[in-house]
């Protein structure tokens, strides 16, 4: 049974042509699900709909079987969803520590343990905790963004192209971090441009084309699928 599930979602910006057409995305706890596809396929839009930043005109969205499609973004966040946007995913004029505190904004309990966990996972953030995030390098910023999202103690993390525009070495590091997130028992759902690498580590893959599920399967199945290889992975 899927932990987070968006079934047959249809969505459009400003009543125009729908970006999502009957699109289904699911993620399980302890698994990494990846959405790949060409530009404009609706990958990020699918994520926005799951988060509630864009309303679906039809379809269902459930978290642990509970319908969350009518809930606001904040409410969904408080239920355990966390999102790391592709760009603008930090508060640049605030310190690393303040960024993490803002991630935990909805929590009223003691956050020191979660802070410690984040600092253990990203030691560089501990060294830079009083620095403004705007002054960090791209990779460090991405870690701060992950850290911020982890502060709500989420059960599912949605990552929008976490490796966009970072150096290959940093990319491996980020994929390593993502696998750690998965190992900690969370569900992870990510949109990724680097389809091959993403599918290699993915438990489940969704190939979207113009807002529809073109192919669905485990990462290995999709990598082995000749059609997927030809159209999306360059042979």
């Amino acid at each position: 049974m899927a932990y987070l599930s968006g079934k047959n979602m249809v969505a459009a910006y400003d009543q125009s042509v729908p970006i999502l057409n009957d699109c289904t995305i699911e993620a399980k706890k302890g698994e990494l699900a990846v959405i790949v596809g060409p530009n404009g396929a609706g990958k990020s839009t699918a994520m926005k709909v799951l988060l509630g930043m864009l309303k679906a005109s039809s379809g269902s969205i459930t978290l642990e079987g509970r319908d969350i499609s009518k809930l606001s973004v904040q409410k969904r966040i408080s239920l355990g969803l966390a999102f790391v946007p592709q760009t603008d995913n930090v508060f640049p004029t605030m310190t690393v520590q303040e960024n993490l505190e803002m991630g935990a904004f909805l929590r009223n309990d003691d956050i020191s343990q979660t802070l410690e966990e984040v600092y253990d996972l990203f030691p560089i953030l501990y060294d830079r905790k009083n620095q403004l995030v705007g002054q960090l390098s791209g990779g460090q910023r991405q870690q701060a963004a992950f850290g911020r999202a982890m502060m709500t103690k989420p059960t599912i993390m949605l990552l929008d192209e976490p490796t966009a525009g970072v150096a290959p070495k940093v990319m491996d590091e980020i994929f390593g971090n993502i696998l750690n997130l998965k190992k900690s028992g969370r569900a992870v759902l990510m949109v990724e441009q680097n389809a091959r690498q993403a599918l290699e580590i993915a438990d489940k893959g969704f190939v979207l084309v113009s807002g529809c599920n073109e192919h669905t399967g485990t990462g290995k199945e999709l990598l082995a699928n000749p059609e997927v290889r030809r159209s999306f992975l360059g042979g």
Partner: protein, 340 residues
């Protein structure tokens, strides 16, 4: 060489006619500019209604002061208006929240362009200005009571034996003290409290703030609370210092905007520094230095004219010129704010 007493006299002269008034006027501007910059950072529009909002809160304070005086309640040597402040802040907040509910909330929901909201705020400015004149008229009202001076020029002269006096008005002393406390409070609030940090986060990256679970409506309300506190206190302090006149408040908009832009739009520290840059420039350029030079120069060099760079009626030109210079040379302002 001028004698030591002449030098001291010239310094006291400048302190009395330039430094102390500029410090008080700068504090009043800084508080108003802080309100403008907060609205810009959080609500993303330049609030043209700021000056008239300050006039509105001062009108409420004056009415309450009159009521208190009628009941015979005063604060001794401190102006009664301070006693009326808390209630005036509440009244101003209610007025601001009503304008938000009936004007700005609509444009926020529509995600309107900032210029559209600015035009709406011009409308709020005219309505508020009209309301203010409807209640108290366009005339000059003095509502400061209590002791007028902390130190009079005469007392200072007899204390020091100098021929120039340094007078410190109660209103000036209160302005500077209250401004320091209030600015300290606002900075503490923004830097240290959870709500303050959330406000900064919201100003920094609105979408991510929403994703972190920060409630935008609450942020907007808290911003208006700060604006009500700052506007009321700035307006009342200005009124105690110079008397109340609706038009003077309306005209304060230009120096306040100039202060915000000079300091860096959206930067609270910039608004404070900008306020003092404007006030000191205004007073330094419009002061007549004749007497000052008479103290310092040998008799043959002493000036016949007033030695005034600009007549006081041109003081608004000072704000304008500083504004133009800053926009040409450093559009982000002193503290690297946003570029318009």
């Amino acid at each position: 060489m001028p004698e030591l007493t002449d030098i001291l006299n010239s310094i006291v002269l400048l302190l009395n006619f330039v430094f102390v008034p500029a410090l008080a006027y700068g504090s009043q501007l800084a508080l108003g500019a802080l309100a403008v910059t907060l609205v810009y950072a959080i609500l993303r529009f330049a609030n043209f209604a700021q000056g008239d909002t300050m006039a509105f809160s001062t009108v409420i304070t004056i009415l309450l002061t009159w009521l208190l005086q009628k009941w015979g309640i005063t604060l001794g040597f401190i102006p009664t208006a301070l006693l009326a402040l808390p209630l005036a802040i509440v009244a101003t907040l209610i007025y601001i929240l009503l304008t938000d509910k009936f004007v700005y909330a609509y444009y926020r929901k529509q995600n309107s362009k900032p210029i559209t909201v600015v035009m709406a705020s011009v409308g709020v400015m005219f309505v508020t200005g009209g309301l203010v004149r409807f209640i108290l008229g366009p005339t000059h009202h003095v509502f400061a009571d209590g002791a007028r001076f902390i130190i009079t020029a005469g007392e200072f002269k007899s204390m020091t034996g100098l021929s120039e006096g340094l007078a410190i008005k109660t209103s000036q002393f209160l302005t500077i003290t209250i401004a320091v406390l209030l600015v300290g409070f606002v900075f503490y609030f923004l830097q240290k409290t959870k709500t303050g940090k959330a406000m900064r986060a919201y100003a920094d990256n609105q979408d991510l703030a929403l994703l972190s679970g920060i409630d935008p409506n609450r942020i907007v309300r808290v911003t208006w609370v700060l604006v009500a506190i700052l506007s009321t206190i700035a307006g009342v302090l200005y009124g105690l210092d110079k008397g109340f006149m609706a038009n003077a408040y309306h005209q304060m908009l230009l120096p306040m905007f100039a202060a915000v832009i000079v300091g860096g739009i959206g930067s609270p520290m910039g608004a404070i520094v900008g306020g003092f840059v404007i006030s000191f420039s205004e007073l330094i350029l419009t002061y007549a230095y004749k007497k000052f030079l008479i103290y310092l120069l040998p008799e043959v060099w002493q000036p016949d004219g007033l030695v005034q760079f600009l007549g006081t009626e041109y003081k608004f030109a000072v704000s304008f010129v500083i504004l133009v210079i800053v926009l040409l040379l450093r559009p982000t302002g002193i503290f690297k704010g946003k570029v318009i």
